[in-house]
Symmetry: C2
Subunit: 313 residues, 2 copies
């Protein structure tokens, strides 16, 4: 469990996945969005997270998108793709694919269909992935989002995993929304790379040894998030945090995926961004207008998309 | 919404999926189990349900298992495979595969990763499947199991689906465990084929126009379940129901999948049946012994596996 000498990782963005009108993946727009996020300051991309509608993508769609990014110049070692599925063979296939392509690590949901499973069951599920992938490059970031997955990683399970797989299970995204849980992880496991699932807790986490954040709203506010990470010891840190928190609060009044997409659609004048796969639904025009007014009141505006990012080589 | 002149369907068994020691699907044992269930009186097989650990299987594993059954003489038209996944392309692929192979129908979970989704979102998810599969043979049985899936089918959604897709959306498995919900469906949608998800509610459902049941414990008690369906108007019906209910109650004190597997392992002297995929765990030896004693006290014994069923052509 002894931790590495790595410095804070920064902000990893669970990049939104755009779709065409007929619900196909829009690879070109996805690539442009990922390039733009990096250009805006993202330290990495946690592609295929909850915000990415990853669980609405087939495995082939995920693998093809990852290939597409790398083929078009996105550095593999900034990518932390989500690879946790309900079925062990799927999780193993996606994880192996990611590591073989040089990904920084994987963000791993526990199998999430069966509920009320035991800690032994969650441990066994992760252990099987580690053993079956059998790749010394494997780095696992656990994905704890119990309100969505219905299954999470308890502190005792994390402790067992750290003991069983040191240097392999290296971190967690804590999307519990419960700061006490994040703080407990930071205190219990020194050096374990804890990313709060919301920038609301970013400064608090950094001050306790946190490594950054992985947040839905970094899709539209990554530059400011990065500024806080770079300047978290500066006198302005609390002000930067307050701004981030206010923007996040305005957005999370709405369903996060649809709201983030609506903001991109508006700010980039690309209505295609509004398309989501069922069971999600696009934000209504009324709610979108209300949200944009709230953001404007916070002096928030989205940096424009550069030509370079829009048309990658 | 006018309903067919079909008679009650009977008992469909969500057949358990056996695994080898290294967690591979044991196709031979699965085939033998399915053949045995039909021999014991199952009217159909709802393969790839929750009890089947279907969500722990890859899509390829499901399709290969279905092919294997049909190739080895299980009639396709008694099969109601579970085909509902989180991702639309997966659900469409499995559903199309099932109908192309002549399945009786499919048992369709709503997409179950995203929680707190709207009725519009659930409706849209099913509508997309119907439109994309585009097969006149398609018959959908909705799979309502909110405690596990975290997403369910409300009565208003069912009503919309019946109006939009008459003759396509034809029934439901109600695993809410809430008799009031089952009764409400039976009363609201005459002719809609409602299968309670437990034989505990079988007789009550049949008396309100229910069409049978789809129950985990039918894996080990299908013959008695069938006797009640065949004799539900007879004077002995309430006694038959009481016996079924008692056996079910004894088993559902334990995790259902593991408990059913433990019973088969014991009764058939096939310890391999105890293997489950994580995150589920096998029933302990102690719990198994306790369960077997409880069943013995109820005069319950499992019919032995016939040589014929064990070694299908």
């Amino acid at each position: 469990m002894a931790l590495t000498n790595r410095s804070p990782r920064g902000v990893f963005v669970p990049a939104l996945t755009p779709f065409t009108a007929d619900l196909a993946v829009d690879r070109a727009r996805f690539l442009a969005h990922c390039a733009w996020l990096l250009e805006q300051g993202a330290n990495g991309l946690a592609v295929f997270g909850t915000t990415s509608e990853a669980n609405s993508l087939s495995n082939n769609e995920r693998m093809q998108l990852l290939d597409h990014l790398i083929h078009h110049g996105i550095a593999a070692n900034v990518l932390m793709p989500g690879t946790g599925c309900c079925a062990l063979p799927d999780t193993v296939a996606l994880t192996r694919h990611a590591m073989e392509h040089g990904a920084f690590g994987v963000l791993l949901l526990p199998p999430f269909y069966y509920k009320n499973v035991s800690d032994d069951g969650v441990f066994a599920a992760i252990a099987e992935v580690v053993q079956r992938v059998a790749d010394s490059r494997l780095r696992i970031y656990l994905y704890h989002i119990p309100a969505m997955a219905g299954v999470g990683f308890s502190l005792p399970v994390i402790e067992r995993l750290l003991k069983a797989f040191p240097g392999v299970v290296v971190g967690i995204k804590d999307s519990s929304g419960d700061w006490n849980n994040t703080a407990a992880m930071l205190k219990a496991f020194p050096g374990f790379e804890v990313f709060p699932g919301s920038e609301t807790y970013l400064l608090d986490a950094l001050r306790l040894g946190g490594t950054g954040c992985i947040s839905a709203t970094a899709n539209i506010n990554v530059a400011a998030t990065r500024r806080l990470i770079d300047g978290w010891t500066s006198p302005t840190a609390d002000d930067l945090q307050a701004q981030l928190t206010a923007v996040r609060a305005a957005i999370q009044k709405y369903p996060l995926v649809s709201a983030n997409k609506a903001i991109l659609a508006q700010a980039h004048a690309e209505p295609g961004w509004n398309v989501v796969r069922p069971p999600l639904g696009a934000l209504s025009a009324e709610a979108t207008a209300e949200l944009m007014r709230a953001l404007a009141a916070l002096q928030f505006s989205l940096p424009s998309t550069s030509q370079q990012a829009m048309a990658p080589a």
